[in-house]
Symmetry: C3
Amino acid sequence: MELSANQIAAMVSGKVEGNGDVMIHEFAKIEEGHPGAISFLANPKYTHHIYTTESSAVLVRDDFEPEKPVNATLIRVADPYATVAHLLTIAQQMMAPKRKGIEQPCYISEGVEIPEDAYIGAFAYIGRGTTIGRGAQIYPQTYIGDGCKIGNETTLYAGVKVYAGCVVGDRCIMHSGVVIGGDGFGFAPDGGRYTKIPQIGNVVIGDDVEIGANTTVDRATMGSTRIKDGVKLDNLIQIAHNVEIGESTVMAAQAGIAGSTKIGSHCMIGGQVGLAGHITVGDRAQIAAQSGTQKSIEADARLFGTPAMELREYGRQAVYIKRLPDLFNQVREMSRAIKEQK
Amino acid sequence: MELSANQIAAMVSGKVEGNGDVMIHEFAKIEEGHPGAISFLANPKYTHHIYTTESSAVLVRDDFEPEKPVNATLIRVADPYATVAHLLTIAQQMMAPKRKGIEQPCYISEGVEIPEDAYIGAFAYIGRGTTIGRGAQIYPQTYIGDGCKIGNETTLYAGVKVYAGCVVGDRCIMHSGVVIGGDGFGFAPDGGRYTKIPQIGNVVIGDDVEIGANTTVDRATMGSTRIKDGVKLDNLIQIAHNVEIGESTVMAAQAGIAGSTKIGSHCMIGGQVGLAGHITVGDRAQIAAQSGTQKSIEADARLFGTPAMELREYGRQAVYIKRLPDLFNQVREMSRAIKEQK
Amino acid sequence: MELSANQIAAMVSGKVEGNGDVMIHEFAKIEEGHPGAISFLANPKYTHHIYTTESSAVLVRDDFEPEKPVNATLIRVADPYATVAHLLTIAQQMMAPKRKGIEQPCYISEGVEIPEDAYIGAFAYIGRGTTIGRGAQIYPQTYIGDGCKIGNETTLYAGVKVYAGCVVGDRCIMHSGVVIGGDGFGFAPDGGRYTKIPQIGNVVIGDDVEIGANTTVDRATMGSTRIKDGVKLDNLIQIAHNVEIGESTVMAAQAGIAGSTKIGSHCMIGGQVGLAGHITVGDRAQIAAQSGTQKSIEADARLFGTPAMELREYGRQAVYIKRLPDLFNQVREMSRAIKEQK
């Protein structure tokens, strides 16, 4: 890909300021700029880099007013961050175009129909009675058990495993190592040993869900574990049986959600957070990294720590704990003063 | 599967109360019941649901006495929970019957014998000198290195990896993404760099062990990492080299056990717990989620927090920390009082 | 492998004391010794075992002076730990010799050249434009996308996934389930939903890097996620997009590093540690297991807890918190004393 600043400006309805003929063949962060690269300036904290960046062009806001001379060609747009996302999408489509066709050898069970515009990679396995959506990208070494449904334009990267009976919506992305539909962790104590409770439910994943590498989502004991539309899960997350995650909730890496917990929509769950089973988390709740709780959480709460508490309380506790040495000193002196007065 | 309430009662030696001809084709939780489903009532907390459930039949205890009229057909049994586990097992066997035979292509090293009633999925790889037990279910894309032993009736789901020389007992279940026998994390400092300590031991897993998706169990430096009979490990757990886990111990997701630690039998380790290396955990110890410790733990202990402490101490500390603001206020007032008295 | 103590001593330039003809065919820890095994004594804590070990031979330091009679044959060397690592390496090479050749079926894209001394396992997938180094060991079911570079003598164990465009150096070891180059977790809020930010960077891994089972390293949004020479990562670790890890830094299992954080060289990061995004960690910093921080960390720091603090402060806080019950008692008594004086 090599385009002039003028050509890029035309693609994104931007206004060029400076040399419009400079050729661009790469993206770079503004602080790591180099000739031939285009950068963007969205966060004001980074403004000072625009005067020194070596990038050939920079996307800036319509109303940006430089305080010093700028070497780079400016391309003025309404929203530089959204514009760069748009340009990155175009670049990615040029770098990694959608695949089509069936690589051999692969294992497609009898009766399964593969749409003409879908991709099935080598060593992929597709079980009986499974349906594969239009344009689906099923990378090599992927396993899809019997009776599954994979939506349109959904991508399963190399090595994803989907157990029998699970449903994945449209336009989803599952990264390598994701396991959908393994058995929930359910055992009945039985005279000092444990008997397995069969897990006969499934997993149902909505549309536009992205799940990071090596994340696991267990099937329900009965019924369904549900990941609703627009949910984004990072890598190495554990979602236990019968959990429900509401629309457009995002969860950072290594978080773990125990069985039957219901999380609302538009929540933000930090990395390494642990939530106990059988609790509810209200819509838009935010839970800081490494926090943990065994209690339900109200809508719009912002929690920190283990056990998790409101930000204000968490801050207060931290301050009091920090001041403990002073308190011990003060009490020692007071004790002496009292004795002297006796 | 469609059976009448009478037929189900006959299978589980239950007594029908109400319409025995109602047809059942599904399981459902009592609070999510619907016509055609069977539910169960084991936990008294859920009793109120029996008066409103839409399920067609409910398994209840022999001595259950409804306080209001119940629409559903009741099937009275000694232990509803055990009965439902039994019915789920039957249902699961009907839904996912055991597989037999060898799918092609797969890679079976010369000299390896596959019992007639075992299943080897497509793209599975079985190394030299490995033995596969009767009725074993080796799903697609599984890797079993050289010189391994996989027991009778053991299931390795799609994509499990077992390194050379490891042993898995009878009736085990390993979920997708499990890695058995990767190298332990051992390095010798060597002038500012690290030299790898070869890990020439193996992993030995007993009978009736279940291991959840993407859990990793490292091989021993020398000798064996040991997971004993009846152990149940959830997803995304790390078991380091030379660890030993005693019989019927259960461990929740994302727990991590560092090298050479010995855990007793019948322990319960919570999610995201971290145990340091070279410690021992006594039989029947229980460690709450997200706790961590560097010290050995006595038998029957119940620990919470990081560093982990006994429940009583943990609760006391929490109470004291909560009362800190009051203490600071009280000390301030006392200080004023003392000054006034001077 | 069966060698006499004399033969082993000759291999490692050691001096024999006792019966040099005793035959050795196995390694064992000194406390688990048995006839036919060789053990080593490096840590003085284990010295008492040398008087009771059943091992036939023990590697000891040049200057070791037994205080009681020893049954085992002693082999005196300058550094018993380094010597045992050397012997283990020889043993491992005899147990698991390097593989050569291409197993079928596998999928090698047109134009990719496989060096004569490399190994490509069955069901491996190698994308277009990818280069494979001399002596590389590419185990079964591994996926290497388009345009990757795998260095000389590097081992990818069964099922490793390397996304398109990523680079792995020489003499690296990636264990099963490792995912290199999955998309970073980047989304732009867009009216209550999230739009994916394409991740068009890659991952660049230096030489002599070892990465444990099921660890994930995400590709950069732009530019590269970088793991420098000699880094050792344990199992189930999360490395987010645009992270950099300096030379010879080691990280224990289940640690998680958020986006764009830069870690220096020779650091030691404990298990289950969580580091926030966009911070820096100075060279040689040590962070204890389960700690977490959102702040940058200075070189040579030794941190504990969440939020992480210096060891001295952490210890002091712990002591003060432990003494809280006493403090509350003391204040209660003082309060009474003051009232009595009024």
